[in-house]
Amino acid sequence: MRLFKPLTVLFFLTAACLSAQPDFKAMLREIDELGSFGEEDFSCVYTIVADKPGEEQEITQARMFRRDRTDQFLILILKPEVQKGQGYLQVDENVWFYDPESRKFSHSSLKENIQNSDAKNADLDETSLAEDYDVIAWEEGTLGSFNVYILTLKALNDEVTYPKLRLWIRKDQAIVLKTEDYSLSDRLMRTSYYPKYIQVGAKLLPSQMLIVDELREGERTQITMRDATTAVLPDVVFTKAYLERVNN
C-alpha cells in the first residue's frame, strides 16, 4: 500500500496541472471571433510598405472590403498609379487577381503575396485558427510588458499558408501580439508583430503589422490600417463586375 501513495499523489498532481492548462482551442476560437465581423461589413485602407536592402521602398495602398459572413473580400489597389485598379477578389473558395490593363482575371490564392511585399492575401483576411490548427505545445512567457502564452500550432489541412505557427497571445485577453510562421521542414519563414490594434465595436483588429522576412535578411513589410468603417457595402462590391466597372 505504501508504494501506491506516492503514485497516487503524482497522479493527482498531474491531473491538477492538466486541469490548470487553459483551453487553448477556445482561445483560438476567441481570437478568430475577435477578428471576424460576422454579420457586419468592414472596409479600410491599408498602406503596405516593403523595405528591401539596396532597393527602393515599394509602397502599395489598397482598400480592403470584407464580408466575413460569406467569406468574401476584395483588395483594390489604389496606389501606385501603375498598379491602380488591380484587385484580389475572393468568391467562394477562389481568389482572383484582376489586371485592368489587360482586363483579365487570373487565379490567385490566399497564400500569394500582395504585390512585391512579404504580406500575403491571408494576412488581411479573417483568421480561422481554431478550425485550421491544433495546439501541439505551449509555454508561458513575456513579450515587452505583456504576459503571454506561447502556443505552437500544427496545421490540420494543407490549405493554410503555413503548416506550423508559433503565437504569442496575451494572457489577459485573447489577442495575438506576435507570430512566427514555419515551413514544412520547420524552417522559420516570417515573423509578424502586431503592436497596435483598433477596437471596432466588440471586435479588435491589428491596425499596424510588421512582417519580417526571416529568409532574406533586412527585408521587412509594414502594414498600416486607416479609414476603417463598418458601413454596409453593396453586394456588387464582391463581384468581378465591380472590379471591371470601377476601372472604367
Binding site: 495602398q61 491602380k84 509594414q222 462590391v237
Partner: protein, 501 residues
C-alpha cells in the same frame, strides 16, 4: 631500305611473340585513347550545343548588379532577382556590332511568368516558364536551335509566344484541353511594377534541336509583351506620400522588436482615423482634383525605348577559341566608357544551370583521363621492360663494333615500327568501336547524360585531328620510353652486358 631499318624489321620478326605482346598492349592503349578522346570531345560538343548553341552564345553582355548576373536574373541570397536594364544600350550595340570578331549579335530580355489558359480559368493549373523576350529575326540568325512542331515562328513586330512541346503537353494534360497555335493564353508575370496579366496568342510549338536541362522551361515571346508584363519603361512606385506612422516600424532594430510591446497604454490605438461613412464606391479610384497640385510626384523619368528596353546582348564569335580575349577587350572598352555593364562567357550566361552540367563533365573527363593515364603507364612500362631484357643483345652488338648512336637508332626504328603499325591497328579498332557505339545508339537517361552524349542518343564524334594526335603521341612516348632504359643498357660495359641473361 637503310640498313638500320632492315635490321630493325629483322629483329622484330625474330622476337615475334614479344613484338606481338608489346604491339597488342600498344593497340589496346591507343584504342582506349581514341575512345576516351572521342567521348570527351562528344561531351564538349554537348555542352557547346546545349548552352552556347541553344541560348547563351559565346559572349554575353549584362548590366552590373550586386550578385552574379546570368541570363536568368541576378543571383541573390534569397533567390533570383530581376536584372536591371542594360545601360547605354545603343553605344554598346554599335560598338559590338562593329567588332570584326563578331559573327552575330542579338538583344534579349528575360522574365518569369505562369502560363494559364483562358479556356480553363476555373482551374488553378498553371505552367511556370522562363520567358525570353527576343527580336525574332536576329535571334533566329544567331541561334538556329528550334524545330517548329506546329504553327509558326515569331513574326517581327507582332505579339506572340512560342511554347515548348513539353509545356504544351503539360498544360493539355493538366487542364484537359487542346492547345494549338492561334489560341489565347494568359501570362501572369511579376516585374518592377508588380503583378501583371497579359493575353498573348500562341504562335507556335517548338522543340529544341539539341535538348537541354531546361528546354521545356523556356518560352519565346515578343519583346513588347514581355516589357509590358515586367512593367519595363514605367515609372517607379515612389509617388505615394507616407506618414511617419506608416513607416515607423520599419526602422526598429531587430533586437528591439519585442519592445514594441512595452507600452501597454498605447496598445489599442485611440488616434485612429475612422472613415466617414458613405461615399461612392464606384469612384474610389478617381483622384480628387485638389490633391494633385499639393503632392510632388517623385517618379522615375520614362526610359528611352532602346536605352532601357533590353537586359542582355548575346554574341556569337567567328572564332569561338578567341572568346576570352574578346571578353577582355570588351570589358576594357566598357571600363573606359564608364558603362555599368560587363562582358562574360557562356558559363556566366547559363548561370546556375551550367554549373551542374559542367561539374558532371569535369568528373566524366577526369575518369576518362585516369583510364588513359593507366593505359599509357602500362604501355611505357612494357617498353622499358622489353629494352632491359635485351641488355645482353645490346652488349653483343657493341662488342661487335656497333656504335651507341647506331644502337639508339636501331631501337628507335623498332619502336617506331611497332607503334606505327599497332597504333594504326588500335585507331582502326577504336574507330570501329565508336561506329558500333553510334549504330547501337545508347540512350541518355536524363538531361545531364544528354549533355554528355551531345543528344538523346550517344553519337561519339570522331575528330581526324584527334586521331593523328593520338598516333603521334604514342610514337613520341614510345621513343621516350625506350630512351632511358636504352641509356642505362648502353652504359653497361659490353663484356658485362653480354653476361646478362
Amino acid at each position: 631500305m637503310p640498313v638500320v631499318l632492315r635490321i630493325a624489321f629483322r629483329n622484330l620478326k625474330q622476337h615475334r611473340s614479344k613484338t606481338l605482346i608489346i604491339g597488342i598492349i600498344i593497340a589496346v592503349g591507343v584504342l582506349i585513347l581514341v575512345v576516351g578522346n572521342s567521348l570527351m570531345d562528344t561531351a564538349a560538343l554537348g555542352i557547346e550545343r546545349a548552352f552556347i548553341g541553344n541560348y547563351t552564345g559565346h559572349v554575353f553582355i549584362s548590366p552590373l548588379a550586386e550578385g552574379e548576373v546570368s541570363l536568368f536574373g541576378v543571383q541573390s541570397v534569397g533567390g533570383i532577382e530581376e536584372t536591371p536594364s542594360l545601360p547605354e544600350f545603343s553605344a554598346l550595340w554599335d560598338y559590338l556590332e562593329s567588332r570584326p570578331q563578331v559573327k552575330g549579335i542579338t538583344p534579349q530580355i528575360t522574365g518569369f511568368a505562369a502560363i494559364r489558359s483562358e479556356a480553363r480559368e476555373d482551374t488553378e493549373v498553371m505552367r511556370a516558364t522562363v520567358l525570353f523576350g527576343i527580336r525574332p529575326e536576329e535571334y533566329r540568325g544567331l541561334f538556329d536551335n528550334l524545330v517548329m512542331v506546329e504553327g509558326e515562328a515569331l513574326i517581327p513586330g507582332e505579339p506572340g509566344i512560342l511554347l515548348s512541346q513539353g509545356a504544351v503537353e503539360y498544360l493539355e494534360e493538366e487542364m484537359e484541353i487542346d492547345i494549338s497555335p492561334g489560341d489565347s493564353l494568359l501570362l501572369n508575370g511579376f516585374g518592377t511594377s508588380g503583378f501583371k496579366i497579359r493575353e498573348v496568342y500562341l504562335s507556335g510549338i517548338f522543340r529544341f534541336k539539341q535538348d537541354n536541362e531546361i528546354a521545356d522551361l523556356i518560352s519565346y515571346v515578343d519583346a513588347s509583351t514581355l516589357r509590358a508584363l515586367k512593367g519595363m519603361n514605367l515609372g517607379g512606385t515612389a509617388e505615394v506620400e507616407l506618414t511617419p506612422e506608416e513607416t515607423g516600424l520599419l526602422s526598429a532594430e531587430p533586437e528591439d522588436l519585442d519592445t514594441l510591446f512595452s507600452d501597454e497604454g498605447l496598445f489599442v490605438q485611440e488616434d485612429f482615423s475612422w472613415s466617414e461613412e458613405g461615399g461612392d464606391i464606384f469612384s474610389i479610384l478617381d483622384t480628387p482634383e485638389e490633391e494633385e497640385p499639393e503632392t510632388e510626384i517623385v517618379s522615375l523619368p520614362p526610359l528611352e525605348p532602346e536605352e532601357g528596353s533590353w537586359e542582355y546582348i548575346l554574341i556569337k564569335l567567328k572564332r569561338p577559341s578567341s572568346a576570352r580575349r574578346f571578353i577582355r577587350s570588351v570589358n576594357t572598352w566598357i571600363d573606359e566608357q564608364g558603362i555599368a555593364a560587363q562582358a562574360g562567357g557562356w558559363k556566366a550566361a547559363a548561370g546556375p544551370f551550367s554549373k551542374s552540367a559542367d561539374a558532371v563533365r569535369v568528373v566524366f573527363n577526369v575518369a576518362v583521363i585516369m583510364v588513359v593515364i593507366v593505359a599509357v603507364i602500362i604501355v611505357m612500362n612494357t617498353l622499358v621492360i622489353s629494352v632491359v631484357e635485351r641488355t645482353g643483345e645490346i652488349g653483343t652488338m657493341r662488342a661487335l663494333g656497333g656504335q651507341r648512336s647506331f644502337i639508339r637508332k636501331l631501337f628507335s626504328m623498332e619502336i617506331m615500327a611497332i607503334t606505327l603499325v599497332f597504333g594504326l591497328l588500335g585507331i582502326g579498332v577504336g574507330v570501329l568501336a565508336l561506329v558500333i557505339i553510334r549504330l547501337i545508339g545508347f540512350e541518355a537517361g536524363n538531361a545531364f547524360v544528354e549533355i554528355l552524349f551531345a543528344g538523346k542518343v550517344l553519337k561519339p564524334v570522331i575528330e581526324p585531328l584527334s586521331l593523328a594526335a593520338v598516333l603521334g603521341g604514342v610514337i613520341f612516348f614510345g621513343i621516350l620510353a625506350n630512351l632511358y632504359p636504352l641509356r642505362l643498357a648502353l652504359r653497361v660495359p659490353p663484356v658485362k652486358a653480354m653476361q646478362t641473361e
